[in-house]
Each structure stands twice: as structure tokens, then as C-alpha cells.
């Protein structure tokens, strides 16, 4: 026998009340936990994917669309730009390095990106099998692409036109798989990488005559740039946007803008979760307080058997704490379970949401739940402390 067992028994003696309070608190904690997991993983993904890219240059249009399409591969590009102009920019004194990207086709919905091997180095990608592409129509598959498509080294595939699955097949010109990347958790997992020339060869008939050189198209979709000096942060984007027909956008700025836009929605959901937790605290308070009347003889008898006032206080407080701890544990379990289920169901493409990680903030969430339990139980515990035993025991 101890206070913990006693508090547990008291809670189990009112299973419906306890279960409802537990569920209310758990739902609030689960919602916050899910939001924390989502926002943290989204933020990490956005910043990690954009790491190493100071500036993206592409066709005029929405800067956010340019970043989403060229860095996160989550939107359609704003258009194409001439390779010659991109090359000129790559030689700019403020540019340390640049990586060209050419989009246009997909394999079962996974984008095929024409680029240079520098793109692999940008994300520190490692080959699990095979080698990098060397000539046109050789392809390296991201880990997730290989897993989903079932393609093996040496096998061939036909790409579909466009960036979404279901477009017309380029059956006349087939890619050969020469390498498969190890899973990295980066955007490369979901891409098919190939040489720029492959994309140009595939789209010869789409190329404009103006860009043709020796009869071959020379368009790219975007140029990923790394600055040589911090001075370029202000100067280069302004110069490109003002003096050329190109558009320059900063991934860091656009990522923050995106997070801010999403932030409004997340804040609303957080407020909803806070209301849930407040309701749980109120419900717990009402349950504990209302139950004191039924239990006043129990408390009197406990005093009679030698319990100090503080033990009575602690026993009621412990009930609140126990319920809060159980609610928090269940809530965290539900939140992480929901995150994992959402991720596995593919409802967050490109993010791969997982519930199998724990965040530091969740320790604070646990403390918040315990605080809710303590606050809800405080007044009932004070009433227990003040129980007039003599008066109760002499009641007939």
C-alpha cells in the first residue's frame, strides 16, 4: 500500500470519469505533439534541402514557385532559361559555384533532373550501387525511386513527358540505370538524376531555334548558385532581377516565407490544442472537486488512521498528476502514431513525416501536462487538507 497505489485505485474506481479526462488531455497533447513533429520536420526539410544553395536563377515569375520547383521539386517551373545566359552568370565574379538543372520528364511521378555530378556532392549523396552517369541517357535513381519502381542496375526505362505521372511515354529514347543512391533523407531520394544532355536529347523537337547550337537545344530550367562572398547577398539578386530577363530568388528567404504562411495555420491548430488542454484541466478540476464530496469520509478515515494533512493533500494532488501523466503519455503516443501513419500513408509527399523521433520540446509538453494536473488538483487538494475530521466522523 502506498499513496501511488491509493491514487490509482481512486481513479480506477471512477473509470468513465477518469477515461474521459484522460482522453481529453491526450487529444490536446497529441495535437500539439503532431504539430511539433510536422513543423519541425518541415522546417528541417526546407532548410536542409536549401543548405548550400544561396541563390536560384530561373525564368521570371513567382520567386516562391521558382524555389519550390527547383529546390524542393514540389511545383512546376516558371519556365526555361537559355543555357548561354546561365553560363555567363556562372562566370560572374561573385559566384563561387553553380549547378544547372533541367526538368521536363518523370518516371512514375518521380522527376527526372538533368544536371552535373556537382548536384550529388551538394547533398553529400553516396551511391549504393553502380556509378554516376557519364553519357547521355544514363540515369542514377534515388533510393525511394529505385524501391518504388523496382528498377535494377542495367535495366532500361522510358520517361513520361511532364512532371506528373501519366504523361505520354518517350518510348523511342530509353534511359539505362547505371547507379542507385543510398537513402539519405534528402530530396535526392525522390529524384532520377541524369546528364543535361539526356534532357536536351529527349526534347530536341521542343527546342527553340534561337537557343539551338549545332541543331541541339540549350535551355535549362534553373541555375543553383553559391556565393563567393557575403557581399553577393545584396548585390547579385538585385543585379540579376534588374538587368537581365532572369529571376533570382533566395531559397532561405522563400523557405522562411513559406514557413510564415504555414505558420498561421499551425498557430490556429496550436490554439485549438491549447483549448483542448484547458478543457481537460477544467474537466479534471471539476471531477476531482466533485469527487471530494463523495470521498470526504475516506479522507477523514485516513486522518483517523494516522495520516497527516499533508498526506491527504499529496494523495489528491497525486491523482491529478497520475491522470495528467497518463494523458500525456497517451497523447504523445497518439501524436507520434498519427505522424508515423500520415507519413506511411504518403499524405505528406516530399516530407516523409515520421513519428519515430522525439523532440526536446516534447519534454516541455510533458511538463505542461503535469502542470495542468497539479493546477487542476490544487484546489481539491487544499480542501482535502482542510477536512474537518471530527465533524465528519460524528455525522450520523
Amino acid at each position: 500500500m502506498n499513496l501511488f497505489l491509493l491514487a490509482r485505485r481512486q481513479l480506477l474506481a471512477r473509470p468513465l470519469h477518469s477515461a474521459l479526462n484522460l482522453l481529453l488531455l491526450a487529444l490536446g497533447i497529441a495535437t500539439i505533439s503532431l504539430l511539433l513533429l510536422f513543423s519541425r520536420q518541415l522546417e528541417d526539410k526546407l532548410l536542409h534541402t536549401a543548405a548550400g544553395i544561396d541563390l536560384v536563377v530561373g525564368a521570371k515569375g513567382s520567386p516562391l514557385q521558382l524555389i519550390l520547383s527547383s529546390v524542393y521539386h514540389a511545383d512546376i517551373p516558371t519556365g526555361n532559361i537559355a543555357k548561354a545566359e546561365a553560363d555567363k552568370l556562372a562566370r560572374h565574379p561573385l559566384v563561387a559555384s553553380s549547378i544547372p538543372l533541367a526538368l521536363g520528364d518523370n518516371l512514375q511521378g518521380f522527376r527526372i533532373v538533368g544536371t552535373t555530378p556537382d548536384y550529388l556532392q551538394l547533398y553529400g549523396a553516396k551511391l549504393a550501387q553502380g556509378r554516376p552517369w557519364q553519357v547521355s541517357m544514363e540515369a542514377v535513381l534515388g533510393a525511394k525511386v529505385a524501391q518504388r519502381s523496382g528498377l535494377k542496375l542495367g535495366e532500361e526505362f522510358a520517361s513520361s513527358h511532364g512532371l506528373a505521372a501519366g504523361g505520354p511515354l518517350h518510348d523511342d529514347n530509353r534511359y539505362q540505370v547505371v547507379g542507385i543512391l543510398a537513402p539519405s533523407g534528402s530530396i535526392l531520394d525522390e529524384l532520377v538524376l541524369t546528364d543535361l544532355q539526356s534532357v536536351w536529347d529527349m526534347h530536341e523537337h521542343h527546342a527553340s531555334e534561337d537557343d539551338a547550337e549545332d541543331g541541339k537545344p540549350r535551355d535549362i530550367t534553373a541555375l543553383l548558385i553559391r556565393y563567393k562572398t557575403p557581399l553577393a547577398i545584396l548585390a547579385l539578386p538585385r543585379q540579376i532581377n534588374a538587368e537581365t530577363a532572369l529571376q533570382a530568388a533566395s531559397p532561405a528567404m522563400e523557405a522562411m516565407r513559406l514557413l510564415n504562411i504555414l505558420g498561421f495555420g499551425l498557430d490556429a491548430l496550436r490554439a485549438f490544442a491549447a483549448v483542448l488542454i484547458f478543457s481537460a484541466a477544467l474537466s479534471l478540476f471539476v471531477a476531482l472537486y466533485g469527487n471530494l464530496r463523495e470521498r470526504r469520509y475516506d479522507l477523514a478515515v485516513m486522518r483517523l488512521l494516522g495520516s497527516s494533512r499533508w498526506r491527504l493533500f499529496a494523495s489528491v494532488l497525486l491523482e491529478g498528476l497520475l491522470l495528467a501523466a497518463a494523458g500525456a503519455a497517451l497523447g504523445l503516443l497518439l501524436g507520434h502514431g498519427a505522424a508515423e501513419a500520415i507519413g506511411r500513408a504518403g499524405l505528406t509527399p516530399g516530407l516523409n513525416l515520421t513519428g519515430l523521433i522525439w523532440l526536446k520540446e516534447e519534454a516541455a509538453l510533458l511538463l505542461l501536462a503535469l502542470l495542468v494536473g497539479v493546477l487542476a488538483a490544487l484546489l481539491p487538494a487544499i480542501h482535502a487538507w482542510r477536512t474537518d475530521i471530527a465533524a465528519l466522523l460524528s455525522e450520523r
Binding site: 485516513m302 488512521l305 460524528s394 450520523r396
Partner: protein
């Protein structure tokens, strides 16, 4: 076992109870009589340290009760006083055996399930050990409350109207049990009652007058 000296207890501003300088020796048994409101239950609560007198002293086993700090007085009560309230007031969330173990725990004594079972067996209650209080008759619950009061080998057993709402047969059974168990344990027994059936069983009787 206990001694009262110039004991007074005041309710509010005006109502005051004055108690004679009574005493009982270890192992003695007595009944506390008096009309309703004369202070029988109040005296039991004073003896148990649940109430503090405004004047006078209570000595229990040579211990001045008022000299003990509240927490120690609570512990002292748990270890040395067995109190049987008017109603059994067993904790509904615990079974009979656990209700007894609670008495050991709250008195800060080692928890000994075998001792609890021995006490239950000695009072013929062992078959009730696993039952919840809701499954007991009033008479059974009252006997369990007596077992709980006896468990920690108290020096003083206090019972408040133990025959209230019991029929003759149950009253006899409960009083037999109380008096027998107290005698066997060598505990002093003081029963507060206005029931003539109870008065008839005691040679030593304290009479409280109506409140002043």
C-alpha cells in the same frame, strides 16, 4: 491509560464543553454516556487528537497530547489509538485486506499482510478479505472497522456509537467482539453511546451532563 485535567473545549464564541477530570487505567473498559450534544463524540475526538482543547490537558500513556506537534500527533494516533467511527467508513476503492494494510501504511508501520490476515481470522472475517466494502453487510463492515482499529495493537480503543443502526443480535456480536478483542489485546476501551443495551454491559460509566 488516559487522564483528563481541567479540560474545556469551546465551539465558536459561546458554547463551551467542560469535562470532569476522568482517568482510565490500561486495560480498563468504560462507557461514556450523556444526552445528545453533551460532548461524547467531541471527547473522543479530543482523546484521538483530532481536536485541540482550548484549556486543560489530556495525558495518554504518560504523553501530554498537546505537547506533540501536529504531524507527530497524527503518527501517534495511527500507532496507539484505534478509533471505530459511527459508520465503518471503509475505503470503497480498496478491498477488506487492503483497508487493513492502509491502516499500517498511514501509521508508518511495516506493512504485514500476514498480520492483517491473522487479525481478520481472529475476528472470523478472513473469508471477507478479498471483498469490497460495497459487498459487505452493515454488521460485517462494522466488524472490519474493529479489525482495522485493532490491527496496530493500540493502547486505547475508542468507539463512537458502535451499536447505532444495528439490531440486537448485531449489537451483541459487535460488543462481544470489541470487549473481547480489547481484553485480549490489553487495550483500554472507551465507548461513547446513548444506547441502554451498551450501558448495561459496563460497570465503569462516565456521565456527561447537557452542554452549558
Amino acid at each position: 491509560m488516559f487522564r483528563l485535567h481541567a479540560l474545556r473545549y469551546r465551539y465558536g464564541q459561546t458554547a463551551e464543553l467542560r469535562f470532569p477530570d476522568w482517568s482510565l487505567q490500561q486495560g480498563e473498559q468504560a462507557v461514556l454516556r450523556g444526552p445528545s450534544g453533551s460532548g461524547k463524540s467531541t471527547l473522543l475526538s479530543l482523546l484521538a487528537g483530532l481536536l485541540q482543547p482550548q484549556q486543560g490537558d489530556i495525558w495518554l500513556a504518560e504523553q501530554a497530547l498537546a505537547a506533540l506537534p501536529p504531524a507527530q500527533r497524527d503518527a501517534w494516533r495511527g500507532r496507539h489509538i484505534g478509533f471505530i467511527p459511527q459508520r465503518a467508513h471503509l475505503l470503497a476503492s480498496l478491498n477488506v485486506l487492503e483497508n487493513l494494510q492502509l491502516a499500517q501504511y498511514l501509521a508508518r508501520l511495516p506493512q504485514d499482510a500476514a498480520q492483517c490476515q491473522r487479525v481478520l481470522a481472529s475476528l472470523g472475517l478472513i473469508e471477507l478479505a478479498g471483498r469490497r466494502p460495497q459487498q459487505l453487510s452493515q454488521g460485517q463492515a462494522q466488524r472490519v472497522a474493529i479489525a482495522r482499529a485493532l490491527l496496530n495493537h493500540p493502547k486505547l480503543l475508542l468507539a463512537d456509537e458502535p451499536s447505532a443502526s444495528l439490531d440486537d443480535a448485531n449489537t451483541t456480536a459487535v460488543l462481544d467482539l470489541l470487549q473481547g478483542a480489547a481484553q485480549q489485546a490489553g487495550a483500554t476501551l472507551l465507548i461513547a453511546s446513548h444506547d441502554a443495551r451498551v450501558h448495561a454491559r459496563f460497570d465503569r460509566q462516565f456521565l456527561l451532563e447537557a452542554r452549558v
